[in-house]
């Protein structure tokens, strides 16, 4: 009991002694770990560079202002490419993740072995950033929008697949039983009892991923996978920071609009 008597007086403590010691030990190990990690980073840092970091940052911002608006027209094409990469990539990802989620959900999976396989695909896809997929695909299918689309799709499979299979596992089992009792075939059970229940989650997840993908696809050009990132990379390599600022403003506007749209759609389906 956290309540002890000493000198005929009650002393109350929030936690038991053992628990309190465990918490202190946790803090101790955590702080120790942080200090060790910081030491490793500090050893690999050239601290002399930091002396003029403020000056560098300020001069960078100064060179960005005012943005070079003259290139706005020529950025519209790449921006359209970026939107296409995100949208088509998401659609492709959804198309692949959809059957995968049914294989991965405990209550709809045909076989535990299939489930394990589907989960492995989902985890691998989720662990690897879209930019890494893009680097790989640029060497495989060549630079361009196509590599970007596939990269976004590959990264989205894991995200959508995971949220979707969790939604399938959380469905109410009564409609499923009712439809099964009417003598429906397996596919009919999926279509008439599982699908209507996960439809809102499905739309919400897809739209949410689309809005994340817009953000991700803005940088794919850095590794050659098309879109506005190509222009950003070129401007950075030319040290044309005014043009970089224009690209930033366009990205900011696009992301804000897509986020607003996605939030609206998600609110109306949930």
């Amino acid at each position: 009991m956290p309540l002890t008597t000493a000198d005929n007086q009650y002393r109350w403590q929030r936690r038991e002694r053992k628990q309190q010691l465990a918490i202190w030990a946790g803090w101790f190990v955590g702080i120790l770990l942080f200090l060790i990690c910081w030491k490793v980073i500090s050893d690999n840092t050239i601290w002399e560079f930091l002396e003029d970091a403020g000056v560098q940052g300020l001069s960078l911002v100064n060179r960005m202002i005012p943005p070079d608006w003259s290139i706005t027209g020529s950025l519209m094409g790449p921006l359209w490419d970026t939107l296409n990469i995100a949208t088509v990539g998401t659609a492709l990802g959804v198309a692949i993740a959809f059957p995968l989620a049914f294989l991965a959900a405990r209550n709809t999976s045909p076989h535990p072995l299939m489930r394990g396989l589907a989960l492995t695909v989902i985890v691998s896809s989720r662990s690897i950033n879209a930019l890494i997929w893009a680097m790989l695909l640029v060497t495989i299918v060549g630079p361009g929008v196509f590599a970007g689309i596939i990269a976004i799709a590959l990264r989205s499979i894991g995200f959508i697949g995971k949220l979707l299979y969790e939604a399938i596992e959380e469905i109410n089992s009564e409609p499923v039983e009712a439809i099964t009792a009417s003598g429906a075939a397996n596919t009919q059970v999926l279509a008439w009892s599982v699908w209507p229940q996960i439809l809102p989650a499905f739309v919400g997840t897809a739209v949410y991923r689309w809005d994340i993908n817009i953000r991700e696809s803005t940088v794919l050009g850095l590794v050659g996978a098309g879109g506005i990132g190509l222009q950003m990379n070129a401007a950075i390599n030319n040290l044309a920071w005014g043009q970089v600022a224009t690209v930033f403003v366009l990205i900011f506007a696009t992301v804000v609009v897509s986020e607003w749209l996605s939030a609206r759609i998600r609110r109306s389906v949930s």
């Binding site: 770990l33 942080f34 060790i36 990690c37 910081w38 490793v40 980073i41 500090s42 690999n44 840092t45 050239i46 560079f49 930091l50 970091a53 560098q56 940052g57 960078l60 359209w80 490419d81 296409n84 949208t87 088509v88 985890v123 691998s124 989720r126 662990s127 690897i128 950033n129 930019l131 890494i132 680097m135 790989l136 060497t139 495989i140 299918v141 060549g142 361009g144 929008v145 196509f146 689309i149 209507p196 439809l199 739309v203 953000r215 991700e216 803005t218 940088v219 850095l222 590794v223 950003m232 950075i236 930033f248 990205i251 900011f252 992301v255 804000v256």
Partner: protein, 273 residues
């Protein structure tokens, strides 16, 4: 009402149909047409060089095959240093980011902060959330030079946007009567935050921090491309040299670490709640 009645009539004749997902007919058809038009536009504007794609297929198969023979040996030193740097960057930046996101999250909650503070914090959050980590990394690398420090600052900044937004939303959703009760005892501002707000948001804050640890590790594997430290530079080099066996080894390590951290965070989350 009328529509429901006619649906029932139709159902009696055996013409039952499920309710459409989008009930407004005009919106439904408008969306269908918009999707069709968009697909046509995409079809005509996205150029795919199928010849090049076919050419690359062999290389693609090579890459997939290399997962069967990952090469951990020939670049052990680079891989070890890169992964160590990624892990240390992940941990440090998450700790710094979470600590900084607490005051900013408090400032971004409308039921706690005065309007000027609220607007300032929300702007900071919007800036951090809009730009992909790579863009932020480019900026900080230009500021503090190549190396893991730029990566730590980048990830910490990105963590602030993520954590502070969710924390602020959580505080705005928390129960007002508990806050009022503590306030009515004459508690100071700090006591008020400590006893009325903190207990309500703490479990979720811990869960989100662990989730962010996971995200930061995945991001730390790419910001190396622009010189911000971590395994990204090694991975980029190995891919550009078509040294797929080494790439496969690095990707397998990344997947293993993500899996381990997911397992660990699930365990901690169960323990916290």
């Amino acid at each position: 009402m009328n529509a429901t009645a006619s649906r029932i009539e139709l159902a009696k004749k055996g013409h039952w149909k499920p309710l459409p997902f989008i009930s407004d007919q005009r919106l439904r058809w408008g969306l269908n047409i918009a999707v069709l038009v968009y697909l046509l536009l995409v079809y005509f504007s996205v150029e795919v060089n199928w010849g090049r794609v076919a050419e690359g297929m062999e290389r693609g198969l090579n890459f997939i095959a290399s997962f069967a023979s990952p090469d951990f040996i020939s670049r052990t030193d680079e891989i070890f240093l890169g992964i160590r740097e990624s892990l240390t960057m992940t941990f440090t930046s998450t700790v710094i980011g979470v600590i900084l996101s607490v005051p900013i999250g408090l400032g971004a909650a409308r039921n706690i902060a005065p309007l000027p503070v609220y607007l300032f914090c929300r702007t900071l959050i919007a800036l951090s959330r809009t730009f992909q980590e790579i863009i932020i990394a480019i900026f900080f690398v230009a500021m503090v030079g190549f190396g893991p420090l730029a990566g730590v600052i980048t990830l910490a900044f990105a963590t602030i946007g993520f954590m502070a937004k969710l924390l602020a939303e959580d505080i705005e959703d928390s129960r007002a009567d508990q806050m009022e009760a503590v306030r009515s005892t004459g508690a100071s501002w700090l006591q008020w935050i400590n006893y009325a707000v903190q207990p309500q948001v703490m479990p979720r804050l811990i869960g989100l921090s662990l989730y962010r640890l996971d995200i930061n590790f995945r991001e730390s594997a790419v910001i190396g491309i622009v010189g911000a430290g971590g395994i990204g530079a090694t991975l980029n080099t190995s891919i550009n040299r078509y040294d797929y066996d080494t790439s496969a080894a690095i990707l397998l390590i990344i997947i293993a670490v993500v899996l381990a951290s997911e397992y660990f965070s699930g365990y901690v989350r169960k323990w916290v709640q």
